[in-house]
């Protein structure tokens, strides 16, 4: 009778032994050596939850604020800051809700605070209210003009900026801040009545910008404007292919 192991070639049997030894070693490492939390995702989650739960709670949530500060809440609800939670500006206030007299939340009154969101930054959406903190009413506290719980510009936007607020705000922080819209655009009266069918004009030629920015520009507005040689600068391109006229910082 042929014994079973004799059927397997000698070399294969030896390799099988090595293979099984490797598998056994691998299985030993995986099953015994590696601690369970390293392998089991559910255990990791459970540990995570425990770790998170052990942390002290610092935020109270706006529902608790409303209980005492209902008026402010009602005001904020209607303003542009309606989507901000109280603790976004006032900081974690759990301790305050537990002992309102002893612990007071922060009231960020310094000028550096509001520009965290409202300083001009080209990566912010163009319609977002932005200012240049250096030139925007220097040294005045933000809250002296804007109520943080219902922030509105102190003057209602009018004229062009009523509709073109985005452009107005962009222009307001640009070098063209001193130019009136009508310096470059001719606005027919009819535009204010049917704005889509009658449109203001736009400058069409390089020479238009050259009135202030050409080497030999004589316009009195052009006193401090940067000058270029129109015949060399920018080759065949028109100015606004590189410079956005409402924010004409050099982009390239």
């Amino acid at each position: 009778m042929v014994k079973f192991p004799e059927k397997i070639p000698d070399s294969l049997a030896r390799l099988l032994v090595v293979f099984l030894a490797l598998v056994a070693a691998g299985a030993f490492v995986v099953l015994v050596v590696i601690p369970r939390p390293m392998k089991d995702v559910r255990l990791q989650w459970a540990d995570d939850i425990k770790r998170e739960q052990a942390k002290p709670v610092r935020y109270a949530g706006f529902h608790v604020c409303v209980e005492c500060h209902g008026e402010i809440y009602e005001m904020k609800k209607k303003g542009y800051h309606r989507d901000l939670s109280c603790e976004t500006c006032h900081g974690p206030a759990k301790a305050h809700t537990e002992d309102p007299d002893k612990v007071k939340p922060v009231i960020p009154a310094q000028r550096a605070f509001c520009p965290l969101c409202h300083a001009y930054n080209p990566s912010r959406p163009r319609g977002f209210p932005q200012i240049n903190p250096v030139v925007h009413n220097p040294l005045k506290a933000c809250a002296s003009c804007h109520n943080p719980h219902d922030p509105k510009p102190p003057t209602t936007p009018k004229d062009c900026s009523a509709c073109h607020g985005e452009i107005a705000r962009t222009k307001a922080v640009s070098h063209h801040v001193m130019l009136a819209c009508t310096t470059c655009h001719e606005v027919p009266r009819q535009h204010k009545i049917s704005p889509r069918s009658v449109k203001p004009s736009k400058p069409q030629t390089r020479e238009f910008c050259g009135k202030c920015h050409a080497k030999d520009a004589r316009d009195k507005m052009a006193k401090d404007a940067p000058r270029v040689d129109l015949s060399e600068h920018g080759e065949k391109y028109v100015c606004w292919q590189c410079h956005y006229p409402h924010s004409p910082e050099v982009e390239n």
């Binding site: 070399s11 030896r14 390799l15 090595v18």
Partner: protein
């Protein structure tokens, strides 16, 4: 802005052209990541050359068989070193094996690698050398005898049946090995090809281009090693074998070149938004490494040289030395060309901003883990390992074989 920051900026700004995001200034995948695909490519290519003998029965290249297997092993052992050294915490590399993340292609490298090393290369080398190791154990005394015994797993069966089994096992392993070699290097291409945010890499053709450039580099390197090692070991170069191997190399280079051209034309024809910055990168930053070294010196010149030996058959068929010189030059150029290919893929992919509006510069360190010196060490290390392997498992008998009296063999049979 504080003084330190200004100083740092002053240092890096000259490296930048146009607009670039802050996290793109520094190139993070440096020289080591260039070395890695080059080395795995050699592994896959050398194995494909070996499989020509076993699977496709190309008898002429038999003298290269064992050399190519050992070359593949020597390079394969070094391949992960480049990756592990590149990790921020090299000492933690084993963790990706202990806690596998099956949804990350990068994290699966350990398994692709282990499969190729254990299931293909080591097995094949073991079966090829089993009989030799038994014989060598008989010849040696002392420690070496023990080494050979252990390496052969104390096997002593030299019966005809056992030898026949070795042969059939080899056939099976090589057949499994070809897709595995494709997997190993296709995987490297896949890693790059699947980065969808990077238009220089993101292409389904990349794994295929990688595969064929791997085959090119592997075959070229084994021919180069054979032409250097064999005379050193006192053998005579078997020109019939080299002719045949160069033949395969020639076709592989043509396929590789055509694939790269397809990729190139496709990109230019599609002309997607990135084409402007890519063409600027190719014409400025990568001009030397891509146009000059990779395409002109690494592909077109060797192709021309080998074509000349084919066109002027009579002249070259008569003079072996002339042919040897042309081949040697060609395979050497191809090595540099393929290394430049890896460089252009890895470094090129990080040189342009994802805003498509700027370029940065790769500044290689000299010392340190990411430096030139270490990378050179990694490129030399496989040759050291190969020397040791050649000492333990000498392939001389096979390499010096001049089957069919081909010492003066012409090109008549080559390419048929």
């Amino acid at each position: 802005m504080n003084h330190d920051l200004m100083r740092q900026l002053a240092e890096i700004l000259p490296r930048i052209q146009g607009f670039i995001y802050p996290n793109e200034i520094e190139i993070h995948w440096g020289m080591l990541i260039v070395v890695y695909p080059y080395i795995t490519g050699v592994v896959a290519g050398a194995f494909i050359l070996a499989s020509l003998v076993k699977v496709f029965n190309v008898k002429e290249v038999q003298p290269l068989y064992r050399l190519s297997l050992l070359t593949a092993l020597a390079y394969l052992l070094v391949a992960p070193m480049a990756l592990v050294s590149h990790l921020g915490h090299p000492e933690r590399f084993y963790e990706i094996l202990l806690t596998p993340n099956t949804s990350s292609a990068m994290a699966m490298f350990g398994f692709v690698y282990a499969w190729y090393l254990m299931a293909v290369l080591l097995l094949e080398i073991w079966f090829v050398h089993r009989m030799d190791m038994i014989a060598l154990a008989e010849q040696h005394r002392g420690a070496m005898r023990f080494v050979y015994r252990a390496l052969s797993l104390y096997s002593r069966d030299t019966s005809e049946r056992a030898v026949a089994f070795d042969h059939s096992a080899l056939k099976v392993i090589t057949i499994v090995g070809i897709p595995s070699a494709f997997l190993l290097h296709g995987y490297v291409g896949f890693i790059f090809g699947s980065v969808k945010a990077n238009p220089w890499w993101s292409s389904v053709l990349i794994p295929i281009v990688f595969l064929f450039s791997a085959i090119v580099s592997g075959i070229a390197l084994v021919i180069l090693l054979y032409m250097i090692i064999n005379p050193l070991a006192g053998g005579k170069i078997n020109m019939k074998c080299v002719d045949k191997a160069v033949d395969f190399l020639f076709y592989a280079v043509i396929v590789d070149f055509s694939l790269e051209m397809v990729d190139f034309i496709h990109r230019v024809y599609q002309s997607e938004e990135e084409i402007k910055i890519l063409s600027e990168m190719v014409m400025n930053k990568l001009f030397l490494s891509l146009v000059v070294i990779q395409v002109l010196l690494g592909m077109l010149l060797p192709l021309t040289l080998i074509s000349i030996t084919k066109i002027f058959r009579k002249r070259f068929g008569a003079s072996e030395d002339l042919r040897k010189m042309v081949y040697f030059l060609s395979v050497l150029l191809i090595q540099f060309g393929i290394f430049a290919t890896r460089w252009n893929v890895v470094i090129g992919g990080q040189m342009f901003s994802k805003s498509f509006r700027g370029l940065t510069t790769y500044k290689m360190e000299f010392g340190g883990l990411e430096g030139l010196l270490y990378a050179l060490g990694l490129l030399i290390l496989p040759l050291v390992i190969l020397t040791v392997l050649l000492k333990i498992l000498p392939p001389w008998k096979e390499m010096k074989e001049l089957r069919g009296g081909a010492a003066g063999g012409g090109l008549e049979t080559a390419g048929s």
